[in-house]
Every structure is written in structure tokens, then in C-alpha cells.
Amino acid sequence: MKTIEQNILKEVAGLDALPVGAYNIRTNGKSAARNTTANIDIVTKEDKPGIDIIIKPGTINESVHIPVVVSQAGLKDMVYNDFFIGEGSDVTIVAGCGIHSCGDADSAHDGIHTFYVGKNAKIRYVEKHYGEGDADATGKRLMNPTTVVHLDEGAQMMMETSQIAGIDDTNRVTEADLAAGAKLEIRDSIMTTGDQTADAYFTADLNGEDCSCNIISRTVAKGNSKQHYTSTLNGNARCAGHTECDSIIMDNAYVHAAPQLSAATTEASLIHEAAIGKIAGEQLIKLMTLGLTEEEAEEQIISGFLK
């Protein structure tokens, strides 16, 4: 594997070497390495690009890494990955995609990830998007991930998604439905710079009794970048939902935040919050009194905010 690809794997999946456990590494539209375990199977789809990740019921403390690397200019990669998480299992899935652009043609990775989380299963899903490029590369780096989550009774999912650097244009869609007692927690971080745009749409249907959903989004918009954020919670049963979008806006950026709620029963308890503002001057001053320059202070505040 070339250095560029190794760097990207480190950025998106924290990998210096092949991971322990199950993995599937996809580079430039092809599977580059794969490992399965006794409890986790990875099968290539026959009707379309992508894989099925099948986790046996009761699989505890195992992990799956499925990073994607695009380092060919002009490549438009599209994958359909389906995850079948067996009842009562407790696993971590690390996905992530990195694009390294080197020419004047746009590179893109679009993925549809669908999760079928079985009864009382617990899953932590980490997804990081990252882009970089040669200094003279003019091709854009585009990513349009769609994540669909079906949580069965008592299932729990913790999603940590982030896109901190280098993606020019993104349209991220996340849809979830929750059965009785299911729990979904999403922590999403986005930073846009330059002329980038990022659109994020979250929808959760809280269908089962006593299910709960908490979506926390933190974004930073710099330069001339534009962000649109919509998150919708639909309370269709006795449930608890909370969605929060908090943005730091800088320079000439534009941020649109639209959390929305709907309730079809008096038993639904839903809250939304949204805040957009610049970095507070007193935060900068406090860090400067600790010896940081204004730029260092700004960097600390942003990295903490997006952490």
C-alpha cells in the first residue's frame, strides 16, 4: 500500500497497521484486504457494489473496520453496505472514508450504510470523513453518505460521525426508526472552510414505547463556506427525544440550522435546541491570559468544541 493510502487510513480509522478483528479495506473501488472472524462475516454483494457485514447473535467486544480510500482522480465510488447486528451483541464498527485528490477531475465517494440492529444489541459506530490533495490538484472531493438505522426492541446505537477537513461538498443523510426501548445517540461534528458546503439531514422516527433519541451536532463554518442542518424527531409513541445543533460561525460563512419536532401522542416528550454564534471574545481573552496567542486560542476553542 502506498504512503498516501496509509496516511488516509490513519486519518479516517486511526490505523497504523492492519486492525485486530474483522475488517474490509476498500481502495479505489476495490477490496484491498479483508479478514473475517468466527462471529463476524463479510460477504461481497453480488447485485451491486458493497458488502454485507453479518454479526452473529451474542457477539461481545468485537470490532469491524471498514475504511475506504479514494486516491485516484476522477473516481466515482458508490457502495451499499448492509450491517446485520445479531441479537444481544455488543460491537464497535469503525467506518470512514478519505479522499486524496491529485488531478483536475472530481473524486467522489457515495455510500449507503444500512443497519439492522437486533433485539438488545449494542453498537458503537464511528465514521470519519477526510479529504486531502496535492497542492496543484483542482478536482473537488465529494462525499454523500446515507445512513439508515433500524433499531429493534431494546437495541442501542451510539454514532460518532465527523467531517473535519478537506471535503468540498457533502450531503449527509441519516434516517432512523426505533422500536420499543431502543436508544439512539448521535454525535456529529462538521467543520467547513473555504468555499465548501455541507448539508446534513437527520430524521428519527420514535415508534416504540419508551424509546429515546439524542442528536448532538457541533459545527464550525469558516471562510465562505455554507452549512445547512436539518434534524427532525417524530414522536409516535411514549418516547423521549432531544436534538441540539450548536454552531460557531466565522469570517463570511453561512449557517442554517433547522431542528424540527413532531408528536403524534401526548406521551412524546421532545426538545430541540439550536445556537449559532461567533467565538465569544471573553473565551479568547481568557486563553490569551494563559499565554496563548489569539490564533492559538481560536484553535483550542474550535478543537474542543468539535471534540
Partner: protein, 241 residues
Amino acid sequence: MLELQNISYVTEDGKTILKDINAKIDDHFVVITGPNGSGKSTLAKVIAGINKPSSGRILLNGEDITDLSITERANKGISYAFQQPVRFKGLTVKDLMSLAAGKEASLNELCNLLSEVGLCAKDYINRDLDGSLSGGELKRIEIAMAFARNSALTLFDEPEAGIDLWSFQKLIRVFEKMVAGNDGNILIISHQERIIDIADKVLYLKDGQVAKYDTKENVLPEIMGGAASACSVLTDKMKED
């Protein structure tokens, strides 16, 4: 040593907050006191570089720092514990304490610093310095951050404000310890008699001017007598009390 030479501060809308302040802060432990609105916090901000004086010079150990930025002054050895602590989303107590110390602080170091202000490090270091902490907790962390810097000159703006009585007793002991040690100059804005009691000198600020700058024995009568010049309704009321 800090020297204030003819410091004046006038706001943009023309209001004079500080008028021709002259003082040499060369004692170990100096308290700035005075009525509300007398310019104490503004003076602290002028020293820290947050507010630029309209006129006058500030010297730190003989070096003119009037035109230095907040960062440059911090790096020259000025620390400033705010009266109202600042909240940060996403930065933890450990992050801030490490920034204050100028290095990654170990659990042991954090434990030493935070226990001085009555907090158990294990309960706090990974918590965000945000609205999930109470005003008193934030204030104690603010004070611990100033300790962590271990600077040549440390400014505390009303360290007692927002702290419960039990913690205040402990805080006094911390300041007493600082006085006993040789940890540079400490400049505290305070109204508390117990803090004034341990001061080497007291600077009494009134209407933006130095009304008296001397030992506490010489300044306290001035402060007590100061109320006599207030309006008759106020003095009558104070007599009733």
C-alpha cells in the same frame, strides 16, 4: 515589581473610570479594595492588558509593558483570575489546567492544585468547563488555574465572590499559604476583611483614584471614615444598622 505611572482610563463614551493612578506594587501581598464602581476591575484589566490605558505607563520589573498584548504580558509572568469565570464548550478542566500550567498536567499535579480549592481532581478533570458546573465550582477552578501558572504577578478579581462560606475559609488558608511562601507578587481585589487582614499593603480605590495606599492599619480608618461623606439617608440608615 509592578509600577503604575499616571494611569488613566476613559471609556469610548467619555466616562473616566481611572484617574491618574500611581502605585508601586512591590510587597508580596497587596489588596485592592474600594466601593463598587470605584474602578478596581478596570484597573486589573489594564494591568493584564485587556483594557489599554488612555494615558500613563505600566512597568513590570522595570520593563515598560504598556504596549504589550495580553499574551505577551501573560508570558512575562502576569496571571489573572477573572471575577466571572469563562465557560467553554468542549474544553475540560484538565485541558484548561494544562494550558494554564503550560504543559500536560498529571493527575498528581491536578490533584494538588484542585484540592487547594476544595475540589477532588478525579471528579472534575474530565468534565467540560461549561454550564454543567455550578458558579462556585467554576470559580474555584478559575482560582486553581491561576495557581497552576505560578506567575511572578497574580491578579485575583474578587476570589471570594460566588464561593460558599465553607470554601471561603479554606480559600483564606490558601492565600495565607501563598503569603507564607515566596511565590511572587499577589494582587487581590477584595472586600473581605479576612483577606485585607493578611495583606502587606492595601490600595484603597475611590472614584477611580487612589484614596490611600498603605498598610492596613493606616488604610482601614480611611475606609471606615469614607462612609461619612455619603448622603445623609445612607449614613442614617447605616447608623440604624
